[in-house]
Amino acid sequence: MAILTLGETPIPIAEGQTVLAALLAAGVDAPYSCRAGLCHTCLHQVIEGTVPEASQAGLSDAQKAQGYFMPCVCVPKEPLKIVRAGDLHGEIEVRVAAIDRLSHNVIRLCLEPDRTFAYRPGQFIALRAPGEVIRTYSIASHPALDAFIELHVRVIPGGKMSGFIAERLARGDRLKISNPAGTCFYEGADPERPIVLAGAGTGLAPLWGIARDAIEQRHRGPIRLYHGARERSGLYLVDELQALADRHESFSYRPCVLSDSEPGAGDLAATVAGAETDPANTDFFLCGDADLVGRLKRELYLKGAKLQRLRADSFVPAA
């Protein structure tokens, strides 16, 4: 009898066999390389059951907390249900509790789940609209501070999902979301050291959640949030962020508008790299389009930032 399940598919596994060997023997096209628990190529996520500690050696605390493990060195001792790492699984019905505009091209969507929905601020979900349109969005809300799951949706000209949300979706409508995924959240940050949150556009969504989570969890080091936009009209939650900075001395907010000639304006990556003088002792959270996140990550890493302390989420537009 199979004690290993991949998604919904039972995978036969023999006594003493590794999960990777079982997946490959069952004809699953599982990626792998070193087969020694080093290269992370075969990373999967356990969603039911507990994996042996050895199969998580070398992973970050955030990854371990999410059940990430390496199938190539995992000989299970109990039934496991697993998915490929980062796969969005599950289906939760939600009701649209509120829908409004945060700026000319950003919609705030507040969703009320039918059942308990546990998540960490900064994680993302897949949103499913009628017609099998699926897009991923970061969660901007905080489970202890906000009543609803809040998403920031950028309205993209011709965008299937954002067009549907902007033009047809109304309060009370029902949608489906996946379970949360991703490891870009506060846990694992050093409470004494600076936290830097940098994002452009709706990359602010997860950062807004993480910043408030850090404050909620009594982070003792400074928390600096940089929000980049091409035009001033692309900034949003400006009053809320300013109010947060006024209430908490340790929190600061710095908008970076690319087209502005005012002081402090300019490219987000250049501003952050220039202003942050001690990357080696800072926890970074970077969110936004893949090009910006890639540039920032590389630059900060070369300036001494630790890879394990550079958490990032890249937004990739749907094809």
């Binding site: 390389s33 070193c34 020694a36 190529t41 070398g58 893949a290 590389r298 890879l307 550079l310």
Partner: protein, 121 residues
């Protein structure tokens, strides 16, 4: 007598070496295009596997794995000069960590032993 891997300090030494080595190759204009990827964690993990192998540590790599894993890079123009540059960075990394010249030579020999597989020839 301790093995090369033990002399170098085992798994913790590999972690330290990866951090230095990865920064070096990313800053090296001769080869950084082969290492530039958005998924830096995945890249660092691959280098951890590579360094474990050339340190003589536990690994299951086969020549076939090496060939498969570098095919796309060979198609992008990966050649001997790039392998040389990688080995140069590897040597400089070990020197920085205070590894003896004799051990550096041994590591270089292990790295060189996969050169033909890496270059798919």
């Amino acid at each position: 007598m301790p093995t090369l891997y033990e002399r170098l300090g085992g798994a913790p030494a590999v972690d330290t070496a990866v951090d230095i080595f990865y920064r070096k190759v990313l800053a090296d204009n001769r080869i950084n295009r082969f290492f530039d990827t958005v998924d830096m964690e995945a890249q660092a993990a691959k280098q951890k596997a590579f360094l474990t192998m050339v340190f003589g540590g536990p690994n299951s790599y086969t020549g076939k794995d090496m060939r498969e894993g570098h095919k796309h890079l060979v198609a992008k123009g990966l050649n001997d000069s790039h392998v040389d540059a990688v080995l140069e960075n590897l040597g400089a990394t070990l020197k920085e960590l205070g590894v003896s010249d004799a051990d550096i030579k041994e590591v270089a020999a292990l790295a060189n032993s996969v050169r033909d597989d890496v270059l798919n020839r």
